[in-house]
Assembly symmetry: C2
Homo-oligomer: 341 residues x 2
């Protein structure tokens, strides 16, 4: 049989004092004598009194809500980060609300506004591709609400962030293709204004140079990295007189598009063209051949972001020092890049 939960009224009755005295005693109020505080604590323990944190938080003006801003929640990367955040947040009775910006700047600004109106206790965000003005995020900071950025971050905001080493991920992917015998490796990238894509391009380039391969701009194709973009970029590569023998895409969907076009043209993967993508989306292991990719440890990113939030929300604002956590990515080698020697 489940016991009824003890309330402050039970403690009050037991000690023959008022509930408000009990409440103040539990909060260590200066007007309550040390003697009474001791008696209340002892009785609370005896009755196994559990304070209702959520109700208390609401009375203190806390909503117990963390707002999460992502470009889109349906990519495995972002949804795993959210899962990672919830794993930690739920343990501390925080609820999580997710807002999608679809990489639209105006929507991102409106979303920050809406979250502040919903009185969230913190914001964990990955900004959109278009975002160059960060005033809306500054507003969160000015309200004294913890703001943590992940994946796509901005150092100038001077807030905490959790990112992966994109340079390293790209370097490992490219180096692996070279080790498999590729000598002309193409790269699918997005706008170079966003740091994660700039870093992946840099990793690709450095790996080539470190292995005495030349960096050829005609093999670097800029696009939105969606499925159609991957298809178009691959068709473009197939028109080159000297075709590539490997492709490293800065996205997961881009490399699916590449695989489709290569198969349609009866070009053997990985033997004629080896493929590696970025981000371990569910479907990358469903294709035939399955796709090699860079695992971003998205659950860990979410865990770390939520841990920083808890640390910051419980700390003295003035004493909290923003931190940047950089996680090491991992290369997952599947059939699309593993050549039989």
């Amino acid at each position: 049989m489940k016991k009824e939960k003890a309330t402050i009224h039970d403690i009050a009755r037991k000690l023959n004092i008022t509930a408000s005295t009990v409440s103040r005693a539990l909060k260590d109020h200066p007007r309550i004598s040390a003697e009474t505080k001791k008696a209340v604590q002892k009785t609370a323990q005896k009755l196994n009194y559990q304070p209702n944190h959520i109700a208390a938080a609401l009375r203190n003006g806390k909503s117990k809500i963390i707002g999460i801003i992502v470009p889109t929640a349906d990519r495995s990367f972002f949804s795993s980060v959210v899962r990672g955040i919830e794993e930690i947040a739920n343990g501390s009775q925080y609820n999580v609300m997710i807002c999608q910006t679809y990489d639209n700047y105006e929507k991102e600004v409106a979303t920050v506004e809406a979250l502040l109106n919903a009185r969230v206790d913190g914001v964990i965000a990955s900004h959109g591709k278009e975002t160059q003005n960060f005033d809306h995020f500054l507003k969160v900071k000015e309200r004294g609400i913890p703001l943590i950025l992940f994946d796509r971050s901005n150092d100038e905001l001077e807030v905490s962030s959790v990112v992966i080493d994109d340079f390293l991920g790209a370097y490992k992917a490219t180096e692996h293709l070279i080790q498999q015998g590729c000598r002309r490796i193409a790269h699918f990238t997005n706008t170079r204004k966003i740091s994660i894509f700039k870093e992946r391009l840099r990793g690709y380039r450095e790996a080539l140079l470190d292995n005495n391969l030349s960096y050829d701009e005609t093999l670097v194709i800029e696009s939105n990295l969606q499925l159609e973009d991957g298809r178009n970029s691959t068709e473009q590569l197939l028109t080159l007189r000297e075709r590539p023998d490997g492709i490293f895409s800065a996205s997961a969907l881009g490399i699916v598009g590449a695989l489709q076009v290569l198969k349609e043209n009866n070009i053997a993967v990985p033997d004629q063209v080896a493929l590696v993508g970025f981000s371990n989306e569910t479907y990358t292991s469903f294709t035939d051949p399955s796709l090699s990719t860079v695992e971003q440890h998205s659950m860990r990113i979410g865990n770390a972001a939520a841990e920083i939030f808890l640390e910051e929300v419980n700390a003295d604002q003035k004493k909290f020092i923003p931190q940047k956590i950089v996680l090491k990515p991992e290369l997952i080698i599947r059939q699309s890049s593993l050549r039989k020697k």
Copy 2:
């Protein structure tokens, strides 16, 4: 050059009256003369004055937030529904916040509580697999906030809902397999307590009976319908003396698992075993062969749910009549079930 937005202060200055008079005139306040109202409206038009609806809504105690509750946001089905909701909601200056329950009942209850604390103007929800007590949803209704259920709904709550005809979707899928020559069709289902799965099973069964095929319980396998479940169920089917020549799964991941196991056992798809899944997840077209599936028109479900919300939120509560919208699903035939004749 962009013109500065006109404010009520500009109108006030122009007419030499106070801003508060302008504000009240615009709101058709009874204490303001018809003459003044006319003058204000004329000047507002001339200056191209755009009222700030969001600020006004907040003053009126509206948050302009719709809370969405889904088991998980990373399935194409749910994320497309959300997209459909946002398409309509954004046009009316509503922001959308998504909460995931991971099919956990306690989390669902806490989520409803959190959304009410965030003062959302409406809730659009698909309840979890475990949910059998609906009191938390009743609370939304009692607060006079529009509640719309989709996909997984509950008629007893007497709120609006948007669903697809799961029976019809399953019937079409099974009938198609029969037309392709299948005579022993297996079915992967989930717990029969949830109406969508019960309906899909019923559609499968009716299609068999209507085509003079017998319904065989040993071919109906209950599981959580995840990837591993699909694999295990298929392995179980392969141990039967009389193996099936077709599989219809009530989920998308289940049929991916089936395809993997069949390929590993060198069983030809669709010639030896034809496959059809449910829900048009992105990856279903990435496999080889690509997977036939039932399209649930998820964007339309979202559109419809948001349209009902807008209708209800703008209607006189007492006059609004809950409505149930049932959409017809569509069978998408891909390589996994299309036999060459």
